[in-house]
């Protein structure tokens, strides 16, 4: 029996294993290897250097705090927007709304970052509009604010997607039942809609936070030198040939995103379990 007859799957998967799985695993292994390289075979010297440097902690804090705020604003805007999309009935309006909302997702982050420069620069659109009202000019970019607003723009569609799919699954009967039993709109929102859409909220947090913590181009261009995040530092260290430090920072960043994903998944399972027993 030839290989093709005995295990055809082997032929089918070998290209993807050779071209994707192996390089992917090898490159992660190399990052780990460089992160733990020292004078002996294995060393924690670079980790010690990284952890004892207060600058590292400042950068980690900047990264997490920025990602947390981006996530918060994406949810704050994304939740009502997902409801509004869900309520749109006319196919034309739906088509336009979806296209406007999701097309930027497929535009290069460079293009979008440049768009924000045009909007936020000292002579830009926002400042000139504010100027008519006799305000400003304000410094809106090359700082934390610029990075934040541009990142919310980049991440918002990712928040709307899971929210929309959980809102689409809401049973109208449940909401009607709550209303019939005398719940006011706030109660309906907090005690019926919110718990039922919680899985969507959790996956929105998961996606947006992971993407925001690992974003490089947007905070780098809009934040300038004032917003130093881990991805930015990794890039800079490779430029200055400090691969070991870049590897340690890469593993820290990877650790943060994996930890966030893992704990949100656990949280999601916990809530599902509670919901089932209640």
């Amino acid at each position: 029996m030839t290989l093709r007859e005995r295990s055809p799957w082997l032929l089918l998967i070998s290209p993807v294993v050779v071209l994707v799985a192996l390089p992917f695993i090898a490159s992660l292994a190399l990052v780990i290897g460089f992160g733990f390289s020292g004078r002996q075979a294995i060393g924690l010297e670079v980790w010690a250097r990284f952890i004892t440097d207060p600058f590292s902690w400042k950068v980690i804090w900047t990264t997490l705090w920025l990602a947390a705020r981006v996530t918060f604003f994406c949810l704050l805007i994304g939740y009502p927007v997902a409801f509004a999309l869900n309520q749109l009935k006319s196919p034309l309006a739906r088509g336009i709304a979806f296209t406007v909302l999701f097309t930027p997702l497929l535009m290069s982050v460079i293009v979008r970052a440049y768009g924000w420069i045009v909007l936020l620069s000292s002579q830009g659109l926002v400042n000139s509009v504010l100027g008519i009202a006799g305000l400003g000019p304000f410094r809106l970019m090359l700082n934390d604010f610029g990075a934040l607003i541009a990142m919310v723009h980049v991440m918002l569609p990712f928040a709307v997607l899971p929210l929309l799919s959980s809102i689409n699954q809401l049973p109208p009967s449940g909401i009607e039942a709550a209303r019939d039993l005398g719940a006011n709109p706030v109660q309906v929102l907090l005690r019926v809609i919110f718990p039922l859409t919680l899985p969507g909220i959790l996956s929105a947090i998961e996606i947006v936070f992971a993407l925001a913590a690992s974003a490089f181009v947007t905070p780098s261009i809009l934040g300038g030198g004032r917003v130093l995040t881990l991805p930015r530092l990794i890039y800079d260290n490779i430029g200055s040939l400090d691969w070991a430090l870049a590897a340690v920072q890469s593993l820290t960043l990877l650790g943060i995103t994996v930890l966030v994903l893992f704990s949100l998944r656990r949280l999601g399972r916990l809530f599902r379990y509670e919901g089932a027993t209640r």
């Binding site: 927007v81 509004a84 290069s108 460079i110 293009v111 045009v118 659109l125 723009h153 870049a246 590897a247």
Partner: protein
């Protein structure tokens, strides 16, 4: 009342989403080199400047070549892999599935750095070459593509394949005549998605390019670090046009299912 408030929020959000894209296009005609708004006058000079910039022109051709290569490769390796995962039970099947979905979790910067070390330390001749860049993009889009293909294969009834086999078709022939045509929409959506993602990618690409071999987005990024004049706007407008054409083409060829295919499953 409630609906009105929601619609106002939606409208404001749509303005917020569209604004940066629209101002880029208008700014491409702005006379002011410092992006002064409203534009004091209109000009086509930035387009001339962009088209005279060798870095952008060669970058454009490279980006197109990389995107085409990455798309061809992902289709040729992604479909058989998804087919094997969906139709065969073998040891390591779950592991393979997880590995193919794993690039979703890895930050693009980390993946770029890892591939950079891999390309350089193994002397694989891939560093800074078009196949190397395409390989990086293939790894980036593999999770999306596998998810799309797996979902499409779920929808194809294996009984139809069996019927074709019973009628005397070989496994390969049965796949091409029965299964593949039913995956048409998924195949198109995945291809367009891969093409657009590859064409626009910067964050991973930055790590695997050489100064002499830059793709268009990387050339733009390096330009933007030093200058922010509307030349960028002119090039960006062209990129927006390319992306938009592909989205429209995708919508048209998939009977409007493009967004659904790409995002509904992921």
């Amino acid at each position: 009342m409630k609906r009105t408030i929601l619609n106002i929020i939606l409208g404001a959000t749509l303005v917020f989403m569209a604004a940066p894209i629209i101002v880029v296009i208008i700014n491409a005609f702005n006379v002011s080199a410092y992006n002064a708004w409203p534009p004091p006058g209109l000009t086509l000079a930035w387009f001339q400047k962009a088209l005279a910039n060798q870095g952008f022109i060669t970058g454009l051709w490279r980006s197109l070549a990389v995107a085409i290569l990455a798309t061809l490769v992902i289709v040729m390796i992604g479909i058989p892999a998804a087919y094997a995962i969906s139709r065969f039970r073998f040891r390591g099947r779950e592991v393979l599935r997880s590995v193919l979905l794993a690039p979703l979790v890895v930050p693009r910067v980390v993946l770029g750095f890892g591939l950079f070390i891999l390309f350089v330390t193994t002397r694989s001749q891939l560093f800074g070459t078009l196949p190397g860049i395409a390989l990086a993009h293939v790894i980036l889009v593999v999770p999306f593509v596998v998810i799309i293909f797996l979902a499409a294969l779920e929808d194809v009834d294996p009984k139809l394949e069996e019927a074709a086999r019973d009628l005397g078709a070989g496994p390969v022939r049965a796949f091409f005549l029965v299964t593949l045509p039913q995956m048409r929409v998924a195949l198109l959506s995945a291809s367009f998605f891969c093409f657009i993602t590859s064409f626009d990618e910067v964050e991973t690409t930055l790590f695997v390019v050489q100064p002499a071999v830059k793709t268009l987005p990387v050339a733009l990024y390096h330009y933007l670090e030093f200058q922010q004049d509307p030349t960028i706007a002119a090039v960006s407008s062209l990129m927006i046009a390319v992306t938009f054409v592909f989205i429209l083409l995708g919508l048209f060829l998939t009977n409007g299912q493009f967004w659904k295919k790409i995002f509904a499953n992921s």
